[in-house]
Chain length 90, copies 2
């Protein structure tokens, strides 16, 4: 839940040719950056998978982005473990 | 492009009630973990946005996951900058 005092921005973005109204307690520029990341993935996937429906293209985009998220999480965790083993506590 | 010597795994996963055949030069368990992350997001979003089409639910899931990716990137970058300022070179 958003706090009532937070400013909620609502903007229109275009993703894979469709309009979406996105709300969030974050700057408009951030919403645009997130939307254009998804748009770019979907447009690329639509070109390489021309027979797939927009729904399946969106799911493929979500899978690709999740893969990036998991890889970054793993890299971050490995880095933290490396620091920990270089500077053990106690 | 995958190297010809890499083993390509192909498995069937169910995401928001639809079957997908996912290929990748990664362990099957990893593909399943990525797929179930997207499935969980989509099922949750379908419950809270019952009038939206599966295509729009998938785009919302992709937007949410991109937001998580960007936030993690920012946290990681800030952590690296903090280490850098604690241990300046030269």
């Amino acid at each position: 839940m958003e706090k009532a005092t937070e400013k909620i921005n609502s903007i229109k973005v275009k993703i894979n040719g469709e309009d979406y109204y996105i709300k969030g307690a974050v700057p408009e520029e951030y919403i645009e950056r997130v939307a254009s990341y998804v748009d770019e993935k979907m447009v690329d996937l639509s070109r390489s998978h021309q027979k797939l429906s927009p729904a399946r293209i969106a799911v493929l985009a979500a899978l690709n982005i999740t893969d990036e998220l998991f890889k970054l999480k793993q890299e971050y965790d490995e880095f933290l473990n490396m620091l920990e083993s270089e500077n053990p506590k106690g």
